[in-house]
Symmetry: C2
Subunit: 377 residues, 2 copies
């Protein structure tokens, strides 16, 4: 997910644009399923709309057909992802579309999911006209995390770090610090709301004791909360930490083999603990999350996690939230690794994807650079 | 000057927008004069255009009147700044407009310069209709440096710093480092081209030996070069430094009282040396530059200059150019001052003005925060 990008504005067709906007309403809530939006059009006017709100609920097409009622007969359908043709938790959407008597189905992109794909062929065999969008790219962006998980068995990882202008995320190591203020908190809420799970290192829980919840502007808990995940290697946070005791959302502890068992077993009932191989590192932990059907992971980084994610190329987007102040030369470093240089030239292995301002903070989103760096002129 | 802003787009009137675009053509070359653009319109069509190209050359109105020729009679004139009414290096523009027989003059904003203002009244007395633009703001932005110098006797200071994502501008103190690469060099060229003078500290000359020139994409020197200024406190760069020997542009050494005289007098003939009171600090040096008629100063900062400018509130815009790489925890700090915190909260005394991407670098422009900081939520 991009902070400043609107995929709906990237399609020319207004019905597809509306379907993309509808799909976005499910953001953060549909795992392990993709986001899907659907509109039904007759005589040039929208007669039905729907989106997939969360796993176990009906698919977007079903909501849109219900909304359209008898108007669906002979109508054209715009759906962001190929309708499924398999019986899962809900009946196949292809059957629903055929039963409703629609005339034509416009599809944003093919469904690559091996158990669900083939819906377009089923529709064609039933005599329904099928057309794919000329450019699948905006529809793929909508579900970039889900598509990555299907393709490589890893979730999409958005790493977030807050820093001062001079590149520090606190004033002293291991101490609680509020660097990015209320504007930074707004950005964090938005990123959490879009994530299936929020990961922090144990050091962050020990220093800051965050709740890791999504709250509205009045401070009320949002209906849907991402899974909270605490990564433990050597130190286990106290059982009294908010993520273990506030019951605001489920919490999972991902513990590297060798993490202290006595402290892990002292955690409150209801806190799930899963082990991953320490030798395989954080990638093994991410694979475990993908196996749970989690597609979009937000990692709220301290310096240790940031260094691992950047050095091991385990992130898709790095969101740097910069606050307008200086933390001073004695503040601890943001990045703990070795310099990334070639002679006297900094190697640019991150490329800026987008930049913007939210309130009083500046945001740059970086991705892995493709095709090498841009050396000095 | 903003990197991502277009003042011409901020006026509704297309003739004023064109006049603003014309004025921009003089950017960097008009000191001690302001930028001015002018268009002459008859029967709804532009019949003459002009801008002030540099001090000593005719003003924008004169070029536009020459361009219009006989079409100026009974025409309407759009000029970004009130026409001057005084005899300076060139005759007053009010006389030229009256002689040409124009019918109406639209003026972007009043001229606050005590020796040149009052042009609107002179035109009215001659029977010419005068109208001011409804919003002077875009016209003031065009000449923000010049207006600041007239108002407070200080130039507008744009501080530029290049850094890695983890907030370092080099790998080791005092060593040459290319952090921001060719995209950073493009940004620097653009900032230099818009400046009347480019300031660096002696440490930068000693470590990097920069030419501080404006070159085109083929590496050829631009026709107009900003004044190069080296700030000296304790250490004087070698007389063989490029800024002292390449004859590409004039170079001024601003030396604090107490700087080593023997080394200053060893500098090549043609390098001007001006003293400023060390006790008054960098502000005294800036006042000296304003007295020379320099309105727009670019400071290419190392950590010492950046720390002084931020701590003494001596900058108007801080351009942070961030390259997509990590310099590592052992790299020297960007900012040398004490932490800027209130309890465990970073004080935000910089506010983001604009953010964007140029090639493979990200840019945030910060200004002094007005009305306090934004504490943690």
């Amino acid at each position: 997910m991009r902070l400043f990008e609107d995929v709906a504005s990237q399609v020319d067709d207004p019905f597809f644009a509306r379907a993309l906007l509808l799909a976005e309403k499910g953001r953060g809530a549909t795992a392990p399923n993709p986001l899907v939006g659907c509109v039904i059009v007759r005589d040039g006017a929208i007669v039905g709309e729907g989106f997939h709100p969360r796993a176990g609920q009906p698919h977007a097409e079903v909501f849109a057909l219900r909304d359209a009622g008898a108007h669906a007969t002979d109508a054209e359908v715009y759906v962001t992802l190929e309708p499924c043709s398999h019986e899962g938790k809900t009946p196949p959407c292809t059957a629903a579309l055929i039963d409703a008597g629609v005339r034509k189905v416009h599809i944003g992109m093919h469904d690559p999911n091996p158990i669900a794909r083939g819906g377009a062929d089923v529709l064609r065999e039933a005599g329904i006209e099928v057309a794919f969008a000329p450019d699948p790219e905006p529809f793929a962006k909508l579900n970039s995390g889900w598509l990555k998980r299907l393709a490589v068995g890893l979730p999409q990882v958005v790493a977030k770090v807050g820093a001062s202008v001079d590149g520090h995320l606190s004033f002293a190591p291991g101490e609680r610090a509020s660097i990015t203020g209320s504007s930074g908190a707004r950005v964090t809420r938005r990123l959490r709301a879009a994530a299936d799970a929020v990961v922090v290192g144990a050091a962050t829980v020990i220093a800051d004791d965050p709740a890791l919840t999504v709250r509205d502007t009045d401070g009320l808990l949002a209906h849907r909360q991402p899974l909270r995940i605490v990564l433990v290697r050597h130190h286990v946070p106290a059982p009294s930490a908010r993520v273990f005791t506030d019951n605001a959302a489920p919490t999972l502890v991902l513990a590297a083999e060798g993490a202290p068992e006595a402290q892990l077993s002292a955690l409150p009932v209801g806190v799930e603990v899963e082990r991953f191989s320490a030798g395989e590192g954080f990638e093994a932990a991410l694979r475990a999350l993908a196996r749970r059907g989690l597609s979009d992971i937000l990692v709220e980084c301290g310096p240790t996690l940031l260094t691992v994610l950047v050095r091991k190329h385990l992130f898709d987007e790095l969101v740097v939230v910069t606050a307008g102040g200086m933390a001073g030369a004695s503040a601890p470093p943001l990045f703990l690794g070795e310099p990334q240089c070639s002679g006297d030239t900094l190697v640019h292995d991150l490329a800026p994807l987008e930049a913007g301002i939210v309130g009083d903070v500046s945001i740059t989103v970086w991705g892995p650079a493709r095709g090498g760096s841009d050396p000095a002129a």
